[in-house]
Amino acid sequence: MTDFSAMTDKNNEKIDKNKEEPGGLRVKPINNGTVIDHIAGGQALNVLKILGISGTTGATVSVVMNVESKKLGKKDIVKVEDRELREEELNRIALIAPAASINIIRNCRVIEKRPVDLPDEIVGVVRCQNPNCISNTHEPIKSRMLVKVKNPVLLRCLYCEQPLADGIAEYLI
């Protein structure tokens, strides 16, 4: 399989060309939109959850799961067509896929490629694992998680200060 970001490139701005997945195309290149590559194998659906993309949001989305990757062993890839996701939306992906890379595609060209970088605070994405935390009640607030360590990710609830490190995907809102 051809490297995904390379598939999108018609002007020799090829990135990681054929390095990771020899063989044919599994998914068509996109003309415009966002490609999220190097997602840890099996996490693509959680990435969509973090981005708030479901079957009802209308976006054209392609998902490739568990393809071989030299860097990760197995990796997932997500393509969202005709939508350039905002940096703050994309950075949340680092919660569960810290090695993910983002490719913004415009007119078939990769106009931006960068890693994800967790912000210092994550609002309304991960609920606190403490069932007795005030943020898990009917109060008019969103969950607020402070990022104490970025890799491996360690979060701390702003309200009850309970840490969250393992199994973050289970607590996605």
Partner: protein, 308 residues
């Protein structure tokens, strides 16, 4: 310099800020003992206790009244707007309009921080579930400073170190003063590892044992806590543990002359009443010191020029 708007957690206090609270408490102690004052005349303190409390609620009320201020009470949650399903956020916005500061005790962790986000006036955390109880820690520090010393201290924290919120905050605060800390608890009620790791990372010497007899003769402060019966599914096991962490005049036979014994109260079986008259007992003084310490905090929050 005390520059806080709210008092929510000991983690937000520097050593200098703690010292400034304790210094002011010291100067207010004559007022706490009954000397007249009108420092906070015209100010109103609202007590929002969503859980039962005796010492904390009454000492806040006493502190405010000793400074010439007045107090309003939420009263029992039943029969109030809470029973009608009002959120805590709305409750503190409303009552924050009636008072100059709020004291809150609530069963949910993080509730005081939430209250501080919605309240138009300062919030003092008087216990949020298993979370923080900073005014208890400050009065504990005041007691140690006054009745023993805060520097070069060897303290033993004894009893339920897993669930007891007071010992978590106190251990953290003592680490700021470079204390040596010995943790004495049954294996099932040991202090959680992340808290121990945090203390060690600050250079605090932390030892751990299940045997109170090992340390009782070598420490400056014995800080006793209640072991709750409901933590043990087997009543026989509870009795065994409870009796091994009981202080009696006999168990103190080899202790240092200047040892002090503290307890946040209420006690059940941890300290024999026959210890009350010994030169080591300080738990009733400790309880009283809640008044000057809370007076100091109220004065700083309501009178000072602090910023958020």
């Amino acid at each position: 310099m005390f520059r806080k708007r709210h008092v929510l957690s000991m983690r937000e206090f520097s050593k200098e800020e703690i010292d400034s609270v304790l210094d002011l408490a010291q100067s207010l102690e004559p007022l706490a003992r009954g000397k007249k004052s009108s420092m906070l005349a015209g100010k109103i303190l609202a007590l929002l206790f969503f859980e039962p409390s005796t010492r904390t609620r009454m000492s806040f009320e006493t502190a405010m009244k000793r400074l010439g201020g007045s107090v309003i009470n939420l009263g029992p949650a039943e029969g109030s707007s809470i029973s009608k399903g009002e959120s805590l956020a709305d409750t503190v916005r409303v009552i924050g309009g009636y008072a100059d500061a709020l004291v809150i005790r609530h069963p949910k962790e993080g509730s005081a921080r939430l209250a501080s986000q919605f309240s138009p006036v300062p919030v003092l955390n008087a216990g949020d579930g298993a979370g923080h109880h900073p005014t208890q820690t400050l009065l504990d520090l005041y007691t140690i400073r006054k009745e023993s010393r805060l520097e070069n201290l060897h303290v033993a924290l004894v009893g339920d170190l897993k669930y007891g919120r007071t010992v978590h905050s106190l251990a953290y605060a003592l680490s700021l003063y470079g204390a040596d800390i010995t943790l004495v608890s049954p294996p099932t009620l040991r202090m959680p590892d992340p808290i121990k790791a945090d203390l060690s990372s600050k250079g605090t010497i932390v030892r751990e044992t299940a045997d109170l007899g090992e340390v009782i003769d070598n420490v400056d402060v014995l800080y006793m806590t209640r072991i709750q019966r409901e933590r043990f599914p087997d009543p026989v096991e509870y009795q065994k543990v409870a009796s091994s962490y009981r202080i009696t005049p006999e168990s103190l036979a080899g202790s240092q002359q200047n040892l002090i014994i503290m307890h946040p109260l209420p006690r059940v079986d941890e300290i024999s009443p026959s210890v009350d008259d010994s030169s080591h007992a300080r738990y009733f003084q400790q309880s009283f010191y809640g008044v000057p310490v809370r007076m100091a905090l109220l004065k700083m929050l309501l009178e000072g020029d602090q910023v958020d």
